[in-house]
């Protein structure tokens, strides 16, 4: 009886499996791959030089540098915060966790432009809560790197937490308890046992955070003022060049962004494969 019914499902499954495959791949091809291919195609339509020149222009290079700076500051901060926050949520149960858990998701729920506007209002030198005080001690947040980094941190904050929490739950506490019975302090246990056990969750969170920081547009537009050669990151550069009908610049920068994101993903996959081998 069971073998008959199993064969029936397998037989019926072939048709539906192919339908699913075609649907899934078609959807991906149409909505994800086609636009990317189009960008690559358009970029190199007139050869390698026009996009390369656009990117290596003064403003293009500055945009690239600024994008990398935001990544270098925002990603480590969000990684440390994310792991600490995940430990708090999973290992130290208390009533405040419900609040933290809800607030952590806020950046996912809010439109980046709203986040940008909120930061703008908070740090505005006229009438913002923090703006005037910071201006008095000589720190400029808006239309400068600090504001852009703040915006990037805000929008990419949940990734490491969200990727780390399930892994922490899965590994359980026994390995950590075993470490403590063997004489390891809390700090030693974290570095030698907990962190190695959750490293792939954290790494995946880092990759997603990096990609998000690199690509952030809405929130950064508002707080940076998008001043060419000063507060322009790569996505802002793309947008500006596109508006100026400078297609090679817009496409070239887009491809550069895509390559940076792909490199991040690839690096993690290679690391992981090496680890598994």
């Amino acid at each position: 009886m069971s073998s008959v019914s199993r064969r029936a499902t397998v037989g019926g499954g072939v048709g539906s499996r192919w339908t699913l495959r075609v649907l899934g791949l078609g959807f991906l091809a149409l909505l994800l791959v086609a636009p990317l291919v189009m960008i690559f195609f358009k970029t190199f339509e007139d050869g390698l030089m026009p996009p390369l020149e656009a990117i290596t222009s003064e403003n293009g290079l500055h945009a690239l540098k600024l994008s990398l700076i935001t990544v270098v500051i925002a990603v480590p901060l969000n990684t440390i915060f994310g792991v600490a926050c995940a430990l708090l949520l999973v290992r130290h149960k208390w009533k405040g966790n419900v609040v933290i858990d809800a607030v952590i998701n806020l950046p996912f729920a809010l439109s980046p432009i709203v986040i940008g506007l909120a930061l703008y209002l908070l740090y505005a030198t006229n009438g913002g809560w923090f703006g005037p005080t910071l201006e008095d001690i000589g720190v400029q947040v808006l239309f400068a790197v600090p504001g852009m980094v703040l915006a990037c941190i805000f929008v990419s904050l949940p990734f490491v937490v969200r990727e780390t929490v399930p892994v922490l739950q899965e590994i359980g506490t026994e390995q950590e308890q075993a470490a403590s019975t063997l004489g390891a302090s809390g700090w030693q246990t974290f570095w030698r046992v907990t962190l190695p056990a959750i490293r792939w969750g954290v790494a995946y969170g880092v990759v997603l955070t990096t990609a998000r920081v690199l690509g952030e547009f809405g929130a950064v537009t508002i707080v940076s003022g998008s001043i060419a050669g000063q507060t322009e990151t790569l996505p802002l550069f793309v947008s500006k060049e596109f508006e100026r009908f400078n297609d090679p610049g817009a496409y070239g920068a887009s491809v550069l962004l895509a390559l940076l994101a792909l490199t991040t993903l690839l690096a993690m996959n290679l690391l992981k494969r090496k680890e598994d081998a």
């Binding site: 390995q175 075993a178 403590s180 019975t181 063997l182 390891a184 046992v193």
Partner: protein, 345 residues
């Protein structure tokens, strides 16, 4: 190093896991904490290790109150039911973990780890990862890891609980021998009375967060302090207020003043041992353990009437512990009440 626990209390919310528990574990002994799940035995073991904070009471190791010491300063070796192997480390790194924490130099760690791997019969597996070991090998690795730091006491939490029956039996023989060689004070938790009696010299029977009785296997079996211990450390029949071990249930073909009438319900041959199941006049089901020879002599058949005479019985209702049971069959209504009570437990 002897271990004592004095007046330990611990609750998880409304659940009282430990209720004024005190135990004494002599230096160098191998003691089993025995009880059903939820009896508090694991909580007690974890409290000794400092993995659980007590709400009240004290833990003393070698006379020193360690109740306020964190786990890493208590110098206990702990073995978990599910091994708690460090999955990202090799067997060598797992066993050497505690030594690395103590900043031993590499050559000394290597020598000690290989000595321990020989002791737990895992030589040549130093470079494997835990995922490449069988359950029994993983647990021996965990034991080597715990022993590496020369703990004052060794605590094992259902160490063989996740292993299959054959491996479990091998490992417990092996643990007993290991203890004979090492003489480190050892406490191990189990819900399996046979395992406890096989391995441990000293047993502590726990139930509902309390210690019911402690003593040697013989003491618990021969002089159980109460109904719970009697039924937990061996098979038992209930005849009214009396408790009778199946091997103390004599079967005869002729009634006298001390026998109870019963009908043979089923005869199960378990090799040389025979399990004869009876139903009494009031519906109580009891069984007698017979030898094959006895069965042949009695010529018992299923459906026949025979007479049961408890050679030895115990009652825990305040009367003397050993006495010949009453001749009469227990009264129906009272026994129904008992059945209800035991069903509710």
């Amino acid at each position: 190093m002897g271990i004592s626990v004095e007046g330990a209390n611990k609750s998880f919310g409304d659940f009282q896991a430990l209720d004024d528990v005190s135990i004494e574990v002599p230096d160098g002994s191998l003691t089993a904490l025995l009880g059903p799940s939820g009896s508090g035995k694991s909580t007690l073991l974890r409290a000794i290790a400092g993995l659980e904070d007590l709400d009240g009471g004290h833990v003393l190791i070698d006379g020193q109150d360690v109740s306020k010491k964190p786990t890493q300063k208590r110098e206990v070796g702990f073995v978990f039911q599910h091994y708690a192997a460090f999955k990202h480390m090799t067997v060598f790194e797992n066993v050497g973990f505690g030594l690395k924490i103590r900043k031993w130099d590499k050559a000394k760690i290597s020598a000690r780890v290989h000595e321990l791997l020989d002791l737990v019969q895992l030589p040549g597996l130093a470079d494997r990862y835990p995922s490449q070991l069988s359950g029994g090998q993983r647990q021996r690795m965990a034991l080597a890891r715990a022993l590496a730091v020369e703990p004052q006491v060794l605590l094992l939490d259902e160490p063989f609980g996740a292993l299959d029956a054959k491996v479990r039996k091998d490992l417990r023989t092996w643990l007993r021998r290991l203890h004979e060689e090492m003489h480190v004070t050892t406490i191990f938790v189990t819900h399996d009375q046979e395992e406890a009696m096989d391995v441990a010299g000293q047993l502590v029977v726990m139930n509902e967060g309390r210690v019911e009785q402690s003593g040697t296997a013989d003491e618990l079996y021969e002089q159980p302090a109460n109904e719970f211990v009697m039924s937990f450390v061996g098979e038992v029949n209930r005849l009214g207020d009396d408790f009778v071990r199946p091997h103390d249930m004599e079967v005869v073909r002729e009634a006298d003043s001390r026998t109870v009438e019963g009908m043979v319900q089923r005869i199960v041959a378990l090799g040389f041992e025979i399990r004869a199941e009876f139903v009494l006049g009031d519906g109580t089901e009891v069984w007698a353990q017979l030898t094959r020879n006895e069965l042949q002599r009695l010529e018992l058949r299923e459906g026949e009437i025979a007479y049961l005479r408890p050679a030895q019985a115990k009652s825990f209702n305040g009367s003397s512990p050993d006495h010949p049971p009453e001749a009469s069959t227990p009264q129906g209504p009272r026994d129904e009440g008992d059945a209800e009570r035991s069903a509710a437990v």
